[in-house]
Amino acid sequence: MTTTESTLQSRRRSTNRDPIMTLRDVTVTFDMPRGTATVLDSVDMTIERGSVLGVVGESGSGKSMFASALLDAVVDPGVLSGNITYYPKNGDPVDVLDLSEERLKQFRCEAVSMVFQGAQNSFNPTMTIRDHFIETLRAHNRDPETGMQRARELLSDVYLDPERVLDSYPHELSGGMQQRSLIALSLILDPAVLVMDEPTAALDLLMQRAITEMISDLQKKYNLTVIFITHDLPLVSSLADRLGVMYAFQFVEQGPTEEMILNAAHPYTRALLRAVPNLDIPIAEMKPIEGDSPDSIDVPDGCAYHPRCPLATDECARDPPPFSDVDADHVVACYHWEQAETEIPYSLEDGGEE
């Protein structure tokens, strides 16, 4: 019942929009000796063409699994179910979970491309950066000549000297240069969607910020749809048009970024905003979240957050809350969201006086 309700809502909202991907009731389970682990739980999501979606969650909240699901790339023996549809600019909608092996391979680079954290693991250490581009172009039957022209442009887009970088082996580049090369490589086949899982983790502060600026520029230049997955809420807040917050393998709140940060409705989102060190919230208001995140095998009944939630009632422990509208475009899965503002206060007012 929860699912239908929210599906209806998303449908209603998306009527005058242009979705590029929709997920309906997407679930991933793993059979383990201890029981069945549900690592993505009935996720519904509409991703608008040309927008940047920030997906925020702690380790083990299911955010990386969400990324894998978008590309139907869940590792064995995980079972992915539900419905994922990709809407190309021209042509018929594509049922992603129904693609043949061959078509799926094509889909993963040409339609939806993925950048993982830790670039050094994504490159083959025995090949130059040029070889990586050429190999990718050949595998997808593209003309190497025009392809390499695009490669040079993409490398310039991420502030690298193409001639120098193309002839380098991965180990000859710094971490930040590797990660930028990987972003360029991920765009070589002109995908419409770029999925990035913690693309700036393990990089220095200045490089992190420079890369988020580059992503923002690339997004505009190539009209990309970007899905940026991170545990670092402040990092995406300047980049994303919309934010989705994950807790215990589900989205608990979604909305426009500014709305979500200034006016968070879910008790977990509010607690997270207070718990994340940043320069905007007075230090006296920063507080850790009590308790621990649940295990995928043993998610609490009802609302998964209820054991840690100061607003929890019997109802929360019994039935999972459906999505409620906070605003036209802002939904939250909580029975008591209207009390969250007074019960879990935070302010962005002082601390970072500028």
């Binding site: 702690e58 380790s59 502030y159 690298l160 000297d161 120098r164 710094s174 930040g176 240069m177 220095d204 502060l205 200045l206 490089m207 992190q208 910020r209 420079a210 988020t212 600026e213 580059m214 923002s216 520029d217 545990h231 670092d232 809420l233 402040p234 990092l235 807040s237 300047s238 970024t257 500014e258 940060i261 200034l262 997270l272 905003l273 718990a275 994340v276 060190p277 940043n278 320069l279 905007d280 919230i281 230090i283 920063m286 507080k287 850790p288 979240i289 621990d292 962005l348 970072g352 006086e353 500028e354």
Partner: protein
Amino acid sequence: MMSDTPLLEVDDVEVEFGDSGLIRNLLGRGDDPVRAVDGVSFELETNDVLTLVGESGCGKTTLGKAAVGLQQPTDGTVRYRGQDIWGRNDSHGDLSQREIRHALQIIHQDPGSSLHPNKTVRTALATPLKQRHAHLDSGQREAATYDMLERIGLKPAGAYADRYPHQLSGGEKQRVALARALLMSPDVIFADEAVSALDVSLRVEMMDLMYELQDIVDTSFVFISHDMANARYFTKKIGGRISIMYLGEIVEIGPADTVINDPEHPYTRALQWATPALDPRKADSNSDNLPLRTIDIPDPSDPPSGCRFHTRCPEAREVCRHRHPPSLQSDDRKVSCFRSDDGHEYWDSPELDEVTADTGRVSHAPHSND
């Protein structure tokens, strides 16, 4: 005399790494020595914190290690309670090397690799107790271990005591590492990115714990963070100072609010710019303009002449290329930049725009050259 002596005094310390080995040197392939720390001084009082902030390769870890006696400086001195910790046996001083070693402890960034995988929490915590409090019998040791586990929030203590590191979460491992260091009753703990590997939502909790336990054991911290938000939180809570490092030098040092909210050095300003604002209204106002000429850091083995930051500094002028700025006291902070000296010849020096020639905007930033 003792009362005026700082707890820890780092005096003009220099650490150079350079010996590439005999064979490489014979072949003429010896690398240039890298001066990881170059003439750094600071003092630490009881219950104090000094936070070191900077990019990778700026020498903050080397400096922290030198401060707690894990890295011998190639020049300069480190004094603990007035005594040179690298002084030879015949040097005067009442403290033995062993006492000094016990007083100075470290917590690493990765708690997984600092805990022995085959030792239970109980065993890991018994080692410092045996060393530091040899008079305790096993019953008293157990009581002390349980007490510490409860204090660091690992309850019930009995259940946690028999766990191995792989049975603990990242946050729990880091708390055990902290407990182990604290049981040495140290005067100084060097916390090297001790919260960086934790989930953002656990960082405040860990820093709060370090703050609360400081009260009980009277420990000072040398705290490293590459993240301004963590640095601000921890430093402000304890009431210490933040120092910004660039290529082996401290370029700005002062109280947390002064350095973070009102940075004076152009490099500190760049770090402040890079710290993501949570408030999207603020994020809009300071986006785009990269306050640097280049994103990539110069090779530390061949640091730029004059002010080391001049190759990336948007404010650099001709004089910065030739002259090294001294550390200038300005109110409650020290800054190494000519701009903090109103009468300096810097202000009449021509602008430097041909070094890497560009406006400093991200959209025009020159190619990296590191």
